[in-house]
């Protein structure tokens, strides 16, 4: 049965590594639903958050193949109930939106969003949440004429308490090096 899986891939910061990671999915004709990559709290160690929809079995195989890539420290595979995650959305509306009857401030408040910036010609709204929520705001704002909309991939945190350093040390100790 296909389900959503969130993969946290802990990597070095190397040119081409992202390509190497995505190639593993491409080869299996797997679509990446979203991807986010950024530096972790440890300097020069990055985390990619990749969301795919597939079976547990195939996802585990792919995770093991990802872990083989030189430059990848560890891959964590999570199902939806094992993580807390967020996405970020930005909405650009014409400045006229402020003057229309329905108070834009009210909508922003109701959706737990915020006004990021008010410029001469437009306003920018920021909303953090799951896709369903950012989508709902998108639809609500539609009548004002959305000039631009962008949504990030997911960033996720695992519910278990074990810190990354401990995971990495454990892996390090599970192997010999000549």
């Amino acid at each position: 049965m296909e389900k959503l899986f969130t993969l946290l891939i802990v990597t070095e910061n190397n040119i081409g590594l992202l390509n190497h990671v995505t190639v593993v999915f491409t080869r299996r004709h797997m679509n990446i639903r979203s991807i986010t990559a950024s530096e972790s709290k440890i300097k020069d160690i990055y985390t990619y958050t990749i969301v795919i929809k597939n079976t547990r079995e195939l996802t585990d195989i792919v995770a093991k193949q990802l872990e083989k890539i030189i430059g990848v420290f560890k891959v964590f595979v999570y199902e939806e109930d094992e993580i807390i995650y967020q996405e970020l959305a930005l909405y650009k509306l014409p400045i006229s939106a402020i003057n229309e009857g329905v108070g834009i401030e009210k909508i922003v408040r109701e959706h737990n969003a915020r006004i990021l910036s008010i410029e001469k010609e437009y306003i920018l709204i920021e909303k953090t949440g799951h896709k369903k929520e950012t989508q709902a705001l998108l639809e609500t704002l539609e009548p004002f004429g959305i000039l631009q909309f962008i949504r990030s991939g997911r960033v996720a945190m695992a519910k278990p308490m074990k810190p990354l350093e401990e995971h990495l040390a454990e892996k390090e100790n599970a192997y010999e090096y000549i």
Partner: protein
């Protein structure tokens, strides 16, 4: 080939070029031989090489693909990574087939490619190609060097990564400006690379579970793969088998991991493997897979494969576990280390009844297939009898090289291999054209050994230009061309599954003897049985290369055969069985 590190003093040299640094790094890694082909973007490295002809032997092949296949075989024979030089663009792309071959067959190869100046990267410069991007899926690691100062560390990593853990190919792309730049060189060998986890510590619980399964099994069977050879576990496997009394079969790349004359050895697995192990796989109650990856050519239809058996999978590569076949006990680790620990935990046993059943099937295969193949009553030669005859006349430590196709399966079946032989073939990728350059690489690694190449008329012509590399080096290679003027394996499938619609498999060949003559290689064409012995005698008479063309039956088939998509136990012994 478990690696031991000799602590070497760091080598330091001030103000040398990146190119000289490449050469000195190779020397520091005890490289003796390089296979390569020069071109614009790698000229500085070749210029530096010019001064090191005493330390390094460079072999100019006639094509970069020839260089990398030679390097692959060199690695398999020497146990050291094979080294390849090639230029940018087409030079680099000509390596891709070899890289893919080395990747799937776990061969340590290090390719050094020249690249355009770093300021031209991405500008479609002359002979620029994104070789790092192209080679990414077919290398264990690759890296683009744009500064000379990166060279020593990157090359040290390349050597460590290529040969440790599950071996594989590495490609290092060096821009021309990095080759020309001067810097202060300091070379230190690497014995650890962050994010690379080569040797898993063996999990004792898994090991004990495996031992328990082995001790309670009634119908166990061992599948021996190349991992045994890579880890040097041949002796441990023999001890394990002698103690447990378990029948063994080998994968194509696992051949020579166990002696073919051992009473518990029952031949090769898979599509053109032996009858007994294919049938018995599906009756076994325990499969012990050592250093192999359950390739589809071994398993046939996985939904009907070893369904009665518990599975123990011993492999160094965790990603192979549960990939194709679900395991009951996975012991992740180096085959030699795992077997060493497993041997004291298993009981001395004999499985007489079970082994007898193997022997009965072995006899049936001998009567219905082997006897007829090696002692045919046909007028024309059959490939099996040639291989069988030559096998009987070769030295016991001969290096046996094949190309890909029917003759390859025949060589795997009818050459009597022991653990002193080295068998070199293209396994996972099935690369036609591999054989000829590979035989050359093997000969470079072991000039004193007898190297015999079995090759078909199709594959020979894919890399035939390397005859000239053999000529120039006067390599002691006995080239045995089994010429049926067909792409035999494809033709066999067309005969069996496409109603003999021989679509583009008829070869309409040139005169191979004239070609051999043009390359000044002594040759002989044999068409009649009474000529064979004297031709073979002539072939082995001296240490020069020899080209023996044997004109064989055009429409011979390799049996037994597991038809594509069938269960291994549906293996057939003859064409007539297909209809059942």
């Amino acid at each position: 080939m478990t690696t031991t590190v000799k602590e070497k003093k760091a080598v330091k040299l001030d103000n040398i070029t990146g190119s000289e640094a490449v050469i000195r790094s190779l020397i520091n890694e005890n490289v003796e031989t390089i296979f390569g082909y020069p071109g614009g973007a790698i000229m500085p490295i070749y210029d530096a090489l010019y001064d090191f002809d005493k330390e390094l032997k460079h072999i100019l092949t006639r094509h970069e693909q020839g260089a990398i296949h030679a390097a692959e075989a060199y690695a398999k024979v020497s146990g050291k990574p094979g080294i390849v030089f090639a230029t940018s663009g087409p030079g680099a792309t000509n390596l891709i087939t070899g890289l893919a071959n080395a990747m799937v067959d776990s061969t340590p190869v290090i390719c050094i490619t020249g690249q355009v100046h770093s300021h031209l990267l991405g500008f479609d410069a002359f002979q620029e190609t994104d070789v790092v991007g192209i080679s990414m899926p077919v290398t264990k690691w690759n890296f683009q060097v744009t500064k000379a100062s990166e060279i020593p560390e990157v090359l040290a990593k390349a050597f460590y990564l290529a040969k440790n853990g599950r071996p594989g190919p590495v490609l290092i792309d060096i821009t021309k400006d990095a080759q020309l730049e001067n810097f202060d060189f300091l070379y230190q060998k690497v014995n650890k690379v962050p994010t690379f986890y080569p040797y898993p510590k063996i999990n004792n619980d898994a090991l004990l579970k495996a031992a328990e399964l082995i001790n309670s099994a009634k119908k166990p069977m061992v599948l021996a793969g190349q991992g045994i050879k890579i880890s040097g576990a041949e002796e441990e496997l023999k001890t394990f088998i002698n103690k447990t009394g378990i029948p063994v079969a080998s994968t194509l790349l696992g051949l020579t991991s166990f002696s073919s004359d051992h009473p518990l050895y029952f031949g090769m697995l898979g599509m053109h493997g032996s009858y007994a192990p294919n049938i018995k796989s599906n009756e076994a109650d325990l499969i012990i897979a050592v250093g192999m990856r359950f390739d589809d050519r071994v398993t046939g239809d996985t939904s009907r494969y070893i369904k009665n058996a518990k599975v123990i999978h011993i492999d160094i590569d965790a990603s192979e576990i549960d990939k194709n076949i679900k395991t009951d006990a996975a012991v992740i680790g180096d085959a030699k280390k795992v077997l060493e620990k497993l041997i004291p935990e298993v009981n001395q046993k004999k499985h007489e009844q079970w082994v007898n059943e193997f022997n009965e099937l072995k006899k049936e295969e001998y009567d219905k297939v082997i006897k007829i193949d090696i002692l045919p009553n046909t007028e024309k030669f059959r490939p099996a009898e040639i291989i069988h005859t030559i096998s009987g006349k070769c030295k016991e430590n001969a290096v046996v090289v094949t190309d890909v196709g029917q003759h390859q399966m025949m060589a795997a079946r009818y050459y009597s291999l022991n653990t002193k032989n080295i068998f070199i073939t293209s396994g996972g990728l099935g690369t036609m054209g591999f054989g000829l350059p590979a035989s050359f690489g093997a000969s470079m690694a072991a000039p004193d050994k007898q190297v015999v190449l079995f090759v078909g008329d199709g594959g020979l012509q894919m890399t035939i230009q390397e005859l000239d590399t053999i000529r120039r080096n006067n390599s002691n290679i006995k080239i045995v061309l089994l010429n049926n003027s067909y792409l035999g394996m494809v033709r066999q499938w067309q005969e069996l599954f496409n109603e003999k619609r021989y679509s583009f498999t008829d070869m309409d060949n040139p005169d191979f003897i004239k070609i051999a003559e043009a390359y000044s290689i002594k040759s002989s064409r044999v068409t009649k049985r009474e000529e064979l012995d004297s031709a073979i005698e002539q072939m082995f008479a001296d240490n020069n290369p020899f080209f023996l063309e044997v004109v064989v039956e055009r429409e011979d088939n390799v049996f037994p055969m597991v038809p594509g998509g069938a269960a291994v136990s549906d293996i057939i012994l003859a064409k007539n069985d297909l209809k059942k």
